[in-house]
Symmetry: C2
Subunit: 116 residues, 2 copies
DNA sequence: TGTAGTGTGTAGTATACAGTACACACTCGA
DNA sequence: TCGAGTGTGTACTGTATACTACACACTACA
C-alpha cells in the first residue's frame, strides 16, 4: 500500500459519515494547499514532511509511526534515541531484525517491568 | 565532539605513522575533493552523505554507526528495520530510551541466544 | 631554488525537498 | 439555474543537500 493511496482511502472512509472530510477541508485543517494534498493522495508528489504527516495522522486518527513508515521515514525522536547510543541500538536492532513480534514484545515488557 | 573535528583528529593521529593520511590523499581514496573534506573537517559545511561517511569510516577504521550518529544521521538499513514493523520498534525504542546500557545489552544477548 | 605536496578560499552546480498560487471543469442542492 | 463546494492541472518558488573546479599561499626537501 502506498502512502498516498492509504491516506485517500482513510479520508474517504471517514468522509462517509462526516462531510468535513473533503480533500479541501482536511487540507485546510492540516495547513496545506488542496492541490498539494491531491497530488500526495494520487502519488504525483513524494510524501510530505514529517511535520505534515503528523498532522495528517492526528486529523485522520491514524498512527503517526505507521504513516511515517509508509512514507519511507522514521520519526525524528526515534532517530535521536538511536543517535545517543549508536552502537548499542544499532546492534540491538540488527539482532531483532528477524525476531518474531512476540519475542520483541516480551523484551519490551521485561524492560518496562524494570528489573534493571 | 563535532563530526568534522573528530574526523580531523582521527586522521591526524593516523597520519603520525602513515604519511598517506594527508587530507588530500584521504579525500582521493574516499572519492571526494580535498577542498570539500577540508571544509567538512573544519565544520564549514554540514557532514556529507551516508555513503561518504561510510567510506570515511572504512578508511579511518572507525565505526560507521558512531560516525553517522555524530553527523546527526541514522543508518538507512536501521531505518528500514524500523519501517518494516513501525509500531513494534517505535514502542520498543521509546521503552528503552532511559534504560541503562547493561539492561539493553542483556536483552540483546537473550535474543541472540534465541530463546524465542 | 624549484617542484612536489600540503591545506584552504571562493565560486559555482545539479538535484531534491516541500511546498504555494491560481485557474479550471465538474457536481449537487436550494 | 446558479452558486457554493469539489478535485485537479499547471506553473512557479525558496531552501537545503551534496557536492565539483580551480586558484592560491605555504612548507619541505632534493
Amino acid at each position: 500500500m502506498t502512502f498516498g493511496g492509504y491516506i485517500r482511502e482513510v479520508r474517504e472512509r471517514r468522509r462517509r459519515d462526516d462531510r468535513t472530510f473533503s480533500l479541501r477541508q482536511v487540507a485546510g485543517r492540516v495547513g496545506i494547499e488542496p492541490a498539494y494534498l491531491s497530488k500526495i493522495e494520487r502519488g504525483q508528489t513524494p510524501p510530505p514532511s514529517e511535520r505534515t504527516i503528523r498532522r495528517l495522522a492526528t486529523e485522520l486518527d491514524e498512527d503517526a509511526d505507521v504513516l511515517l513508515a509508509m512514507a519511507g521515514k522514521v520519526s525524528q525522536d526515534l532517530q535521536e534515541i538511536v543517535m545517543l547510543r549508536p552502537k548499542l541500538f544499532a546492534d540491538l536492532l540488527r539482532q531483532l531484525r528477524e525476531a518474531p513480534d512476540h519475542a520483541v514484545l516480551r523484551v519490551a515488557r521485561e524492560i518496562r517491568d524494570g528489573d534493571w
